[in-house]
Amino acid sequence: MGLCHGTLTAIPSGAVLNHRTLSNGSSLVTAAMPDAALTCLDFWCRGGSAWEQRGEEGIAHFLEHMVFKGSRRLGPGEFDRRIEALGGSSNAATGFDDVHFHVLVPTDNAEEALDLLLDLVLDPALEQDCFAMELDVVLEEIAQYRDQPDDQVLQTLLERSCSPHPYGRPILGWESSLRRMTPDEMRTYHRRRYQGPNCCLAVAGDIGDNLVERVVNGPLAGLDPADDLDPRDAKLPLMTFNSGRDCIRFPRLEAARILMVWTVAAASDHLEVAGADLATTVLADGRRSRLVEHLREELQIVESIDMDVTTLELGNLVMLEACCPEDQLDRVEEEIRRQLELTLSTPVSEEEFARAAQLVGNGHRFSLEAPSSVAATAGSQTLWGRRRELLAPEEDLQHWDASTLSAGMMPLLQPEHGFTLIARPEEVA
């Protein structure tokens, strides 16, 4: 037996959050993980694709690309070189509601990384030469997604169920609107969205006082406080959701798919989020979940079937996806419908509930080991005004039991309330 290096290295647990609001309305949340070797700095902005106005489709994501092309002080590529020379990494992601930019660096280099990150994100150069080149890259990214049948099926489902709301539009935007964009329009969008109350910085790791001081007195505090916002920029457009059913053939699909989507409450309703997590786990997480056990284990008519919950500010999306041979499609759809309907007459049992509560609770706890996942959780919640402790979702589970889950959630997840997309492989001539 070998005791590996004989070390007792601490991956911190249950990090305590500290929330601050700066004078301009921006937020800082810190998660103290004193034994972490790395520190994550995660900048969040209420600037996802749902905030785009007509003609701006794709600008939020395109801006995310352009930010990495440098600021007025950092030349193209300089940010990447300097962060990676520190032993760090960086990335960004644009969603429907928000966008975030994060760096992960050895703790000793966190202050330098902070200066670089905030400079890059808050003062991007958006130069014409880089703009034209990066547009080509974004168009290649769109083409790459178009070549993935899985992505095409998912995008079609969102389009059918959520249009004309922005949740029904590709985050990457449309080629036509992207080609018409200019650096000036992007600057305007950046000024409009990257304002104090729309921004939050999350820091997770071994955080010194100097780092906090640097944030409080740095460029985050210098953002416009946005006292006179255009009403269109103050609120996201109201969500629309279309129930229904459609059947479409997709090129190069090798296996048929059945997708269903429902909208359930919104991200701010954390008890409903917990209920949706529990319900989807009862239905489709693990061999003992109802859909997996019945369709994959007993009937053996699907290759896979799963459900997940996407938390969004205007309405969480609960999605179900089953993959199966095309000749089984009708039967699979019928059995899914039957199982969903059965939840109304056969309530969730105590055993099913206990199993789901364990899986959801542990899944949450297991996801909080690394500074990057802690910063992402704390940042996304704080950005939207939800100042909750990291393990609060475990407490939310305790508000449910088998009977309230049956009565409160299962009726929402019935086929007639959702949108069903049947995706068939294209017929070969």
Partner: protein, 421 residues
């Protein structure tokens, strides 16, 4: 895995989280002839009934504890992963022993998993990246042990029945295995493992540890290009060579070249293909840790109208590492990325346990990464160029995309030094 043999304990302070990784030194590279996919199928059936539990009782146990249990078959080994609360370790760790030493291998469960594998193989064909890499794998390794996806080949999978799996299961510990535990460890864990896992079989753990080394194609059998027509918008390009085992004396030099070429947004391929020419979104270098000749593959996907330029840029980048010495500043940057990568890859208990099990699985010392860090300062830029000269002389190209574009690219490739070699 003897009950108290190749065991690694890595105590880490966590919120009661324990990760266990059991690495068994028999992966898809050990699939017998005509049974490609055999070890993957075996791995998938291990949790479908073992020891005193049938497939549903085991699911009840694992899911009832809110734990995660999965089995993944890689080229060099089968990796069983368990993540749970430390409080549940007593109940769950015995399952690892049952899976390896007492699998039921019931016909019905085998048939179900075989069918799922066949469907998964079919679905993989949707992804042009997968097709291109599968093609490259064929070019580089042919019928050798690394020549097929661990999931297998449909025609072979269809023929694998219970007797074949019984044979594979009987040999599963023939090359030994390693159990790594990371996180909140139960009290007296090493003593209790014998109780949980049972006695070791009459193991032959010292035999043929390296018997599954991959062969690569050579001589007249070797083609330099493979074309995989598909009606897509983009072309996926994969340019690479079968190189070295993890831990080879030149491995660190190639890892630094990987960092220089394809790691992070400051890397050469990112700068050249994305920032200077805007021809691709996703670029990088695939160079996994393997027991034998690991792939070293540059990859990019690009629109058909700029595919020729992208291929030219990839070839030029390959040429550069082969014939030019990288700048001192680039060497330092690559070393910083390598250090950063090691730190990034050991943040969670799962990552830590897996790396420790993997190192033992590859017969490398526990402090292999620390040794590499010490060696970093001694490596010169010329060492990287020399290592490239020894291992990257004969790249092979796999392409997936519209057939007309592939024909154009094939013509260009054949005119290059590597295509005509």
């Amino acid at each position: 895995m003897s009950s108290c043999g190749d065991l690694i304990l890595d105590p880490v302070s966590t919120a009661g989280v324990l990760s266990a990784k059991l690495w068994i030194r028999r992966g898809s590279s050990c699939d017998p002839a005509g049974q490609r996919g055999g070890h993957q199928l075996l791995g998938s059936v291990l949790s479908r009934g073992c020891g005193p539990l049938d497939h549903l009782e085991l699911a009840d146990l694992v899911e009832g504890c809110g734990a995660g249990l999965r089995c993944d078959t890689h080229e060099d080994g089968i990796l069983i992963s368990l993540k749970c609360r430390d409080l549940d370790a007593d109940r769950l760790l015995p399952a690892l022993g049952w899976m390896v030493r007492q699998p039921h291998l019931e016909e019905k469960q085998i048939a179900l998993e075989r069918d799922l594998s066949l469907q998964a193989l079919q679905r993989q064909r949707e992804d042009p990246f997968h097709r291109a890499f599968d093609g490259w794998r064929q070019l580089a390794y042919g019928p050798g042990p690394y020549g097929h996806d661990p999931l297998g080949i449909s025609t072979d999978l269809q023929g694998i029945q219970r007797p074949e799996l019984m044979q594979l299961a009987a040999e599963i510990e023939s090359r030994g295995s390693t159990l790594a535990l990371s996180g909140a460890l139960p009290d007296r864990v090493s003593e209790r493992l014998e109780e949980w896992l049972g006695p070791a079989p009459n193991a032959t753990t010292t035999v043929e540890r390296n018997a599954c080394h991959s062969e690569r194609r050579s001589g007249t059998d070797r083609r330099s290009i493979g074309l995989h027509p598909l009606a897509t918008e983009q072309v996926v390009l994969m340019l690479g060579q079968a190189t070295l085992p993890h831990g080879h004396p030149d491995d660190l030099a190639l890892r630094l070249l990987q960092a220089h070429l394809g790691s992070g947004m400051s890397c050469l391929l990112f700068r050249r293909l994305r920032e200077e020419h805007g021809v691709a979104y996703d670029v990088g270098v695939h160079h996994p840790a393997r027991a034998a000749a690991a792939p070293f593959v540059m990859h990019a996907s690009t629109g058909v109208d700029r595919a020729a330029l992208s291929l030219d840029l990839l070839i030029r980048s390959w040429d550069e590492v082969l014939h030019q010495t990288i700048a001192q500043s680039d060497l330092q940057l690559a070393a910083a990325k390598f250090r950063g990568h090691l730190a990034h890859a050991s943040q969670t208990t799962g990552q830590r346990a897996e790396r420790r099990a993997q190192l033992r699985g590859l017969n490398l010392p526990d402090d292999h990464d620390q040794i590499c860090l010490k060696q970093l300062d001694q490596l010169q830029a010329s060492d990287l160029r020399d290592a490239a000269g020894r291992h990257l002389q004969q790249p092979q190209l796999s392409l997936c995309g519209p057939s007309e574009t592939l024909a154009t690219l094939e013509h260009l490739w054949n005119q290059s030094d590597y295509g005509s070699a």
